[in-house]
Amino acid sequence: MRAALFIPCYVDQINPEVGVSVVRVLRRLGVEVIYPEGQTCCGQPAFNSGFFDEARELGRRFLDVFEGERFDYIVCPSGSCTTMVSHYYPFIFKDLPEERERSEVLAGRVREFSDFLANVMGVEDLGARLEGKAVFHCGCHQRRELGVLEEPQELLSNVEGLDLLDWENEELCCGFGGTFAVKMPDVSTAMADEKIRALEKSGADTLISGDSSCLMHLEGRLRRTGHDTRVLHLAQVLDGNYGKAG
């Protein structure tokens, strides 16, 4: 099995430790990991703001970079960026037959990290260990477009020492939404506060998600409001690596 890593730009720049954990987990499973170094950003920020032409340019680049490699799957530690490639490339290239076809081929081969582990590799238990009480926040793209909701929780439920708790309104968005967080900061922050109230109520000491962008938002608000909740990406938990890299 050969996997090409698609590391979202903000993971590359802000949370490289998440990428490192992905590599280590995949290698432990005997997956050959490659990292196409020409990759930058999939274009989602431009796309979400309505700048489709700019997003298409970056989409074309993404197709070029990954088509130049040999792999079985593209693996990405973000439900949101995976969705950009799997759902929204075909959407923005709808009227361009050549790119549409290319993007559809790639769409069939890109997998969110937990989806790849559970459904391609057939893994249930990675032998990870973490003491604590945690809630899992599923990013909205991962939940609704990808429908990968059970997989990460199944993987987490097999982490030794980890108590995975239910929390209120767990399906609600965290309020990040890309540029939404800065275009509508009051509403965005109020949305984060609602999640944080639910988190407090659950009694969890750890917040886990498969999307670093949701975590950046929730952690940013948690720290500002004086919470010391531990915040981890799923890959870090499965890898047993809880520190900062880089």
Binding site: I7, C9, V11, Q13, N15, P16, E17, G19, V20, V23, R24, E37, G38, T40, G43, P45, A46, F47, N48, S49, G50, F51, F52, E54, L58, R61, F91, C140, H141, R144, E145, E171, L172, C173, G175, G177, G178, F180, A181, V182, K183, M184, P185, D186, V187, S188, T189, A190, M191, A192, E194, H217, E219, G220, R221, R223, R224, K244, A245, G246
Partner: protein, 499 residues
């Protein structure tokens, strides 16, 4: 606008007058600018009472909806069928409208095609003049809210001194308070019991107790007087059946029955997109509407009205008028926005929307709020008056998931954002930002250089592992949230070094 307000001085104190929060919002209506979403949202977010009221309503609606839809195994199939029926209807809308008009006329009813709100106002106003009407009762109708029928009739036909009375309890209270509905289904969900008591006490000239039973009794007594005095009854239509000319209205208070059976004249104002081909299709849509809107298997009253009272029938109006209102809808036919016309106004997308749940409906500044409002307001009224609305969403997709007809609302919001960019409405700052973004991300070398530059410039800005609160555009983040710094080494650098 802000400058003008500052210049206005309070006559008594001589100090700058503060914007009056209590002014009649109905006066603003759809014609008001909705560019101030952020301003209104900020006030809404800070309003704890509003937050509690919204939570109470949306929680109840969402739980109810999930329970009744969950208990219906064929729900996904119904949703699929509803989508396909709407799709087919829109493709042949002209034919179905004609069929419906013919059916209504064959039963002795009158049909009028109204291009816009102006046409509707004129039709209803002229009818009221011909009939010498004094009192008009109405049952809840978003179509007439959309065109501000009440206000415009009162203004344009002032000489008739019409008394127009909303008879849906929530709508009536909103009318008394001068509020716009803040939810498609629950027009006064923004009010608590105390506020309602205050409003009803105001019209009863006595102090009513803040007790649901007592308030209900007062409202019932007062509204019955109006029901009996009405000369014309105006309703909307939840559905209109092309095949039979039947109008279907669903209510829980029974007011629509009194509005359509007591006055001698019944006027239906129906958006042209509400037509469905066959009577049988009602089975699909009525099942979905009640479940999605209020979490009921079926509403308490589901009325089917086909034309005026026929010979041998015991009730119904003597005269029946169907006003088929376009008001910008037909422009969407055959476009990438056509799906916006599939909406059956159940309000489910509002209840699940995390933005609506924080702000309530008035923040949208338009008749229709929530995700569907953010989509159809700019489509019906143009971006000029609703530029902020397509951005009032984190694109989480909860609306699409909840929509009983499967409208991809978040994708339509994306397309509207794109339309703004294409029409040059996104603003220079954004245009420059995203050109720069594309340009950097297209060139790995530039990307790496900016990453290094970012790491150097952030050094003096770091404090306790976060970036200090920043001035300028980034303050929108750092005012309320910590900003993580760029890592010492990027993933690509770590990869090169060997993981």
């Amino acid at each position: 606008m802000a400058t003008t307000e500052r210049l206005v001085e309070d006559v008594e104190t001589g100090k700058p007058a503060r914007k009056r929060e209590t002014k009649d919002r109905r006066q603003e209506g759809l014609s008001s600018g909705v560019e101030g979403f952020n301003d209104r949202a900020r006030r809404a977010v800070a309003d704890q009472q509003l937050h509690d009221s919204i939570e109470l309503f949306t929680h109840k609606s969402v739980t109810g909806r999930n329970a009744v839809l969950g208990a219906l195994p064929e729900a996904p199939e119904l949703r699929e069928r509803a989508y396909r029926t709407k799709q087919e209807t829109m493709a042949n809308l002209d034919r179905y409208l004609e069929q419906m008009a013919d059916a209504v006329e064959a039963r002795g009813g009158n049909v009028f095609f109204a291009e816009d709100g102006e046409d509707v106002v004129r039709y209803v106003g002229d009818l009221a003049r011909r009939k010498g009407a004094k009192v008009i009762t109405k049952s809840k109708s978003m179509a007439t809210e959309e065109i501000e029928l009440n206000r415009r009739l009162e203004e344009d036909y002032g000489d008739l001194q019409l008394e127009i009375v909303e008879t849906d309890l929530g709508e009536w209270i909103a009318q008394l308070a001068g509020d716009m509905p803040s939810h498609i289904v629950g027009p006064i969900l923004h009010m608590n019991k105390e506020r309602i008591t205050e409003i009803l006490s105001g019209v009863s000239n006595e102090e009513l107790p803040p007790d649901v039973e007592a308030l209900g009794t007062f409202a019932r007594r007062r509204l019955r007087e109006k029901f009996l005095a009405a000369d014309i009854g105006v309703t909307g239509a939840n559905f209109g059946v092309a095949e039979t000319g039947t109008i279907c209205t669903v209510t829980n208070e029974g007011n629509a029955r009194l509005v359509t059976s007591i006055p001698p004249v019944h006027v239906v104002v129906m958006g042209i997109e509400k037509v469905i081909p066959k009577f049988e299709d009602l089975s699909t849509f009525v099942q979905l509407l009640a479940r999605s809107g209020t979490g009921q298997k079926i509403t308490v009253y589901t009325n089917f009205i086909t034309g005026p009272r026929a010979e041998g029938e015991l009730d119904g109006a003597e005269e029946f008028h169907l006003v088929l209102m376009d008001n910008g809808r037909s422009r969407l036919l055959g476009t990438e926005f056509e799906e916006a016309l599939y909406c059956i106004r159940c309000g489910a997308c509002l209840n699940v929307c995390p933005v609506y749940r924080q702000t309530g409906g008035h923040a949208y500044g338009s008749t229709y709020s929530g995700p569907i409002g953010a989509v159809i307001t700019p489509l019906l009224k143009g971006h000029g008056e609703a530029k902020d609305l397509p951005h009032a969403s984190s694109l989480c997709g909860a609306c699409w998931e909840a929509c009983p007809v499967g409208i991809p609302l978040h994708d339509l919001l994306l397309k509207l954002r794109n339309q703004q960019v294409e029409e040059g409405l996104a603003g220079k700052a954004q245009e420059i930002a995203f050109k720069g973004f594309e340009s950097t991300m297209k060139r790995p070398v530039l990307y790496k250089i900016s990453s290094r530059a970012g790491r150097l410039t952030q050094k003096p800005l770091l404090r306790d592992g976060s970036v200090r609160p920043l001035p300028g555009p980034m303050s929108a983040w750092t005012d309320s949230r910590e900003l993580p710094p760029l890592a010492e080494k990027s993933f690509r650098e770590l990869w090169k070094e060997g993981i």
